[in-house]
Symmetry: C2
Subunit: 205 residues, 2 copies
């Protein structure tokens, strides 16, 4: 039966054609290793081996390590906004409560046993090169983070929304990075309270 272009356009029963299991395994393994040990510290050989395959299969799925890294950061970003949206959803229209929920959930997540803070913030340090395909991903992510916090500050009627939004961002980023030096009971325990205090100060008439 002759295939015409219409055939190709219609019937995409599966959007992505399942890609392959190996690729997924590699990606999952790489993500875990990147987060735990750092991006530069993990080689493609290690990734492939740990994923139960070998380097050749790695390069059949990914053009280069840098491309994998960029994809890893992209996925981390998507998961982050999914988390964000879920935390924020129950308090639609109540921006202050939304920020409180974000901070409480962030503290819980970041204090968890195997947490190493924010994957993207960490990559910020490991990838200073502008040419790296992951650099743009992480720049965009943090810009979006700032945008959202400033927007929330504005919605709650803060006198100086940009200042409040930025201050909240500093608390958030500080929470992530101090997790790497204080395993339990670090300064992050003050994060939620500090956020409330700042919001109080920016809201009272």
């Amino acid at each position: 039966m002759a295939r015409n272009s219409a055939d190709l356009v219609i019937e995409p029963e599966v959007p992505a054609p399942a890609k392959s299991r190996v690729r997924d395994r590699i990606f999952e393994t790489a993500s875990a290793l990147f987060y735990r040990r750092g991006i530069r510290a993990v080689g493609v050989d290690t990734i492939a081996c740990e994923a139960g395959t070998n380097k050749m299969s790695f390069y059949r799925s990914f053009a280069s390590k840098d491309v994998l890294v960029a994809e890893y950061l992209g996925e981390q970003g998507r998961e982050y906004w999914t988390w964000w949206d879920e935390v924020v959803a129950p308090y639609a229209g109540k921006p202050r409560k939304q920020v409180e929920a974000l901070f409480e959930s962030c503290v819980t997540k970041t204090c968890a046993k195997d947490s190493r803070g924010c994957a993207i913030a960490n990559a910020t340090i490991e990838i200073p090169e502008d040419e790296h395909p992951g650099r743009k991903v992480l720049l965009d992510h943090k810009a979006e983070s700032r945008r959202r916090l400033r927007k929330l500050a504005k919605e709650m009627g803060a006198r100086e929304p940009d200042v409040l939004g930025d201050a909240l961002m500093l608390l958030l980023e500080g929470s992530y990075i101090t997790r790497l030096t204080f395993s339990h009971g670090g300064p992050i325990i003050a994060a939620a309270k500090a956020a409330k205090t700042l919001m109080d100060a920016h809201l009272k008439r």
Copy 2:
């Protein structure tokens, strides 16, 4: 002339025997490269070459790269406390003014053109291994940082000094790390104001 053990013990005209110029050059070069490009990204060959010498001379001065890194972090720490003490000195007995001065100076320093935030905070991410000789150095440094901020909060009579001190630390660390994603005009511009707001809230009766 026969040398006895007494000869070795007496007459140390110079405490450290000037060590050598090469060692210093290597150390300066390495420090600059570690800060700019990251610790893992810089090899000893690059360091030696950039310092105008070679690898053999490197290993005559340093037992290993890890030892160099630990020494680099130690020196960064000493320079940090020197900065801190100098900023704080003019306001002895006025802890609130001291914190304000710290934040203002921190913002100025961290916004400078070639700044890449805090060298030690950055190393926090690159060195997760407990066995690394630099790990303890950086852990101690951040613990001392927290200690000092909590102490200042207590001295200024804050109702919850530990909470205020920790919150200030989150702002400070957040300032450092966001510098890596926002080149100019990042959230750090809100740091000093946020610190004041937090202190206000913790001090008013």
